[in-house]
């Protein structure tokens, strides 16, 4: 199943709609209530949200899968010329898949496949910043084998390994001063590893807490391909297809959540996450052959650590239907002075809503919808000894999610 899914997932274009190039869509149920779920059990997707909770299912096996449909765009406007451009991002469809198995009362095992990082931004071939970026598609697929252990009725712990398959493809102009057709296509992929750990504490029937940590993963692309397409003048400047190395850090994230069951029908929860984006200091390309058109480059990113705050509620009408709603604020890690159009990310407000239906004892389906307002910002990216590139940016996204779950 892994083998089948991986090539599929590798082709999924994702969009930057969370802080940096994070993608927070790891469970349709959780997405429906502000994408929180570290402190109360919502099925096999707890493999991602808090693996300490994996043993909480009443059944032995639990499987959950889902897909999201992302429609999104970013607008840019130069404050000097009035030039504006809207991205033409393809429909993104990130998946997730989880399976958990209760080995014993105390011990459970789980496996998750999901995409917590990714970005697809397409500014078009001819926009003014085409030498910075034309389009980029990056994704990181996490495969996470995990176990959890019940220490007591109140306290559970979990942890495991993150196997990360990262890939990136980007196109940009080179020497567009002598022809818009001069471009380079950079592609690369790599496997990297990290870990996760989690604690779940049930203080009472009503109150529970969750604490999770996912480590930073440095995806080191080695021997990526740099393929050039140039006109005669571009060729005269000297150009060879070559290879490159680059490192993309995927930041650590720590989350603390609290859930409160107001009554049998209503659950409310709040969560805060700390994302260690300051690890992303610069994106450096080291090319095998340097020519006038292909120079090693150090591109400052200087991201700052950021926070995400979430609130959400779930209301169970009866045994058949649950309704959910939530809200979150996701702080952008990008500073105004280091804002690259490759990751046009601003503070995001997310408004979410969702529902689940239960069919029979074992089967259920989930729906969610998420509307994200990427708040307007005026930001610039430094160009050496020159006026920086930038202007105003704003974004909007709508994401619909569908999930299925089965336990037995």
């Amino acid at each position: 199943m892994k083998k089948l899914l991986l090539p599929l997932l590798g082709m999924i274009p994702l969009l930057s709609f969370a802080g940096g190039f994070q993608v927070n869509l790891q469970g349709t149920k959780q997405t429906g209530m502000g994408h929180l779920g570290s402190s109360f059990y919502l099925g096999a997707s707890s493999t991602y949200f808090n693996p300490a909770m994996m043993g909480l299912d009443s059944n032995k096996f639990s499987i959950e899968a889902g897909v999201n449909f992302i429609s999104s765009s970013v607008e840019y406007q130069s404050q000097k010329t009035g030039f504006s451009e809207m991205t033409d991002n393809p429909l993104g469809t990130p998946f997730y898949l989880y399976a958990t198995y209760k080995i014993s009362d105390k011990l459970s095992a789980g496996l998750g496949v999901y995409t917590p990082f990714g970005s697809t931004v397409d500014w078009g071939e001819d926009w003014t910043g085409k030498e910075l970026i034309q389009d980029i598609s990056l994704s990181a697929i996490f495969i996470q084998p995990t176990i959890s252990y019940k220490i007591s009725d109140k306290l559970r712990v979990g942890g495991g390994v993150n196997i990360v398959s990262g890939s990136v493809e980007l196109n940009r102009n080179v020497r567009s001063s002598i022809g818009n057709e001069n471009t380079v296509n950079l592609t690369g992929d790599a496997i990297a590893y990290g870990f996760n750990a989690a604690v779940y504490y049930e203080a009472s029937d009503k109150l529970s807490f969750g604490l999770t940590y996912k480590s930073q993963v440095d995806v080191e692309l080695e021997g990526g391909k740099a393929d050039f397409t140039v006109n005669e003048l571009g060729a005269a400047s000297g150009v060879n297809d070559t290879k490159f190395d680059a490192t993309l850090p995927l930041p650590s994230m720590a989350t603390l959540g609290i859930a409160y069951r107001v009554n049998e029908k209503l659950l409310v929860s709040a969560e805060g996450s700390f994302v260690g984006w300051s690890a992303y200091e610069s994106l450096d390309f080291d090319f095998e052959d340097n020519t006038p058109l292909v120079q090693d480059s150090e591109n400052p990113r200087n991201y700052e650590d950021s926070y995400i705050f979430r609130v959400g509620a779930q209301y169970s009408i009866n045994n058949m239907f649950d309704f959910r709603a939530g809200f979150y604020f996701d702080q952008s890690p990008v500073q105004d002075e280091f804002f690259s159009p490759e990751t046009p990310n601003s503070d995001n407000l997310g408004i979410t809503s969702g529902m689940s239906g239960h069919i029979g004892e074992n089967f259920g389906f989930d729906l969610s919808i998420l509307y994200i307002v990427g708040m307007e910002r005026e930001s610039y990216y430094p160009l050496e000894n020159q006026q920086p590139f930038g202007g105003k940016y704003a974004s909007r996204s709508v994401i619909a999610g569908v999930g299925l779950n089965y336990s037995f």
Binding site: S72, S73, M86, E131, S177, A236, S353, Y371, L383, N385
Partner: protein, 475 residues
């Protein structure tokens, strides 16, 4: 209840979702104290939109005055008409077609980009085809015009680029009179480049101390009188305007592309060049001339030719300013090695350098070389013109465009616009056309933004710059 309300709202949100709206931007351009309702642009080839050794319609449409005219229309500017050529290959005044890029093979069999005329001949007939009856035109840019030409009566008969659009009913019309027929409320004046350029591109063949020929340097008095008169005429009715200074010739690829020395010469070749069969005889002859008092020590040192193996050696050039020793010995031609700081022209034939022993066994003819004295003549004249232009701008409250500084940036690190770097490198730098003198379309757009910036700052206007990267690249 909370959930239900949200569920009703969400479909509405989805409808507007994918149209982020940057709403608090205020791009209401204003004209400040200037009035662009009738704008004229007066000047030479730079104003006409000349590129790659020719005037061509598809370049004229993006002349810097045309770009300005479009931006002015946002703040009440009127129609900006240009004397456009018919569609086609374009033409130089001598009927040569526009230069385009070809990949040529040099005498050593090495392929490389080389600009060549894109057709066997230009459309010289276009220059005798009068479109003057449809005038007056707002763009009064005439390739080849020097400062004092703008007030020459009947200049149309002397320069077909003007003759083709000058008033057919008035054979004595001057360029300034043509401009004034539009009753301008605003003008740009960018003139004076040709007052030194002909001297420079011909390797200093004209008179450096005044003269009105193509290759002469216009003297300061003539320049100042002409320029003062033109500014006076153009501002008579209270018109406001922008005037630009003259770039230094070391800013343009025509003079910065060909090096003044060889690639490293090997020891055997150097020894052969220094031998008595070659420059050894010349050096010995110089010693005799020196002993006889025909030249002084300084000239003896300057003229002594010596090649050193394993390193770059400057080219041997003919320099007519040296003392003529051929009366003493016909073999003692006026030659020496170039010195750092001197310049070679873009027109110096590359094959003659690579395979014809030019610069090594054979001296390079003087029309391809600017001596330090000639460079100094050009600089002195340019600095003088620029002092005049600046003081006239100040005295008349006109916007002053420091085109010289802007173009100098191109050859000094380049100008980076939204990530795209423009430099003064010939061909591949992107800012200059294939003649090495005139800007490319994007180069002209950079120049247009300099005019806009100066106009905004002088007249309190808020006219947007143009997006340089959206203009066509070299073709």
């Amino acid at each position: 209840m909370k959930t239900r309300k949200l569920l009703y709202i969400l479909p509405l949100a989805a409808l507007t979702a994918c149209e982020p709206d940057i709403d608090d931007v205020n791009f209401s351009d204003t004209r400040g104290s200037a009035d662009f309702s009738r704008t004229v642009s007066v000047g030479n080839s730079l104003t006409a939109g000349y590129q790659s050794s020719a005037l061509r319609r598809n370049k004229q449409v993006n002349s810097f005055p045309a770009i300005l005219g479009q931006q002015f229309q946002r703040v009440g500017g009127g129609e900006f008409t240009q004397p456009l050529l018919a569609e086609g290959v374009g033409t130089s005044v001598t009927g040569v077609a526009e230069l385009g890029l070809t990949i040529g093979v040099d005498c050593q069999g090495v392929a490389g980009p080389s600009p060549k005329p894109i057709a066997s001949s230009g459309q010289a007939s276009e220059l005798t085809n009068s479109i003057g009856a449809a005038g007056p035109y707002n763009n009064v840019g005439v390739p080849g015009a020097k400062s004092f030409h703008l007030t020459v009566a009947g200049y149309g008969a002397l320069n077909p680029y003007f003759g083709r659009f000058a008033d057919p009913a008035n054979p004595n019309e001057t360029m300034i009179e043509h401009a004034l027929r539009s009753n301008p409320t605003f003008f740009t004046l960018f003139i004076g480049n040709n007052d030194v350029l002909g001297y420079a591109t011909s390797g200093g063949s004209g008179n450096p101390n005044g003269g009105t020929g193509n290759f002469d340097i216009t003297d300061q008095g003539t320049f100042t009188a002409a320029y003062t008169g033109m500014v006076g005429a153009l501002t008579t009715n209270g018109a406001k305007g922008a005037i630009a200074n003259i770039p230094d010739i070391t800013s343009i690829p025509f003079f910065t592309t060909v090096p003044i020395g060889t690639d490293a010469v090997d020891a055997a070749s150097a020894a052969a060049l220094n031998s008595p069969q070659a420059y050894g005889a010349y050096n010995a002859g110089l010693q005799q001339a020196y002993a006889g008092g025909a030249i002084d020590t300084m000239e003896l040192v300057r003229r002594t030719i010596r090649f050193t193996g394993g390193q770059i050696n400057t080219f041997v050039v003919l320099d007519p300013s040296l003392t003529d020793l051929t009366g003493i010995n016909p073999a003692l031609t006026s030659m020496r090695q170039a010195v750092p700081g001197e310049l070679m022209t873009l027109t110096l034939p590359g094959d003659s350098l690579r395979c014809g022993q030019w610069g090594t066994a054979k001296p390079i003819p003087p029309q391809y070389h600017l001596t330090a004295t000639e460079i100094s003549n050009i600089k002195t004249a340019t600095d003088g013109y620029n002092t005049t232009i600046k003081s006239l701008a100040d005295a008349n409250g006109l916007a002053f465009v420091d085109a010289a500084s802007r173009l100098a940036e191109l050859s000094n690190g380049g100008i980076n616009i939204d990530g795209t770097l423009y430099t003064g490198t010939f061909g591949t730098g992107g800012a200059f056309s294939f003649d090495g003198v005139h800007p490319s379309t994007r180069g002209y757009a950079i120049l247009a933004n300099s005019f806009i910036d100066a106009i905004n700052s002088t007249y309190g206007a808020t006219i947007d710059n143009v997006d340089v990267n959206s203009y066509p690249t070299l073709d």
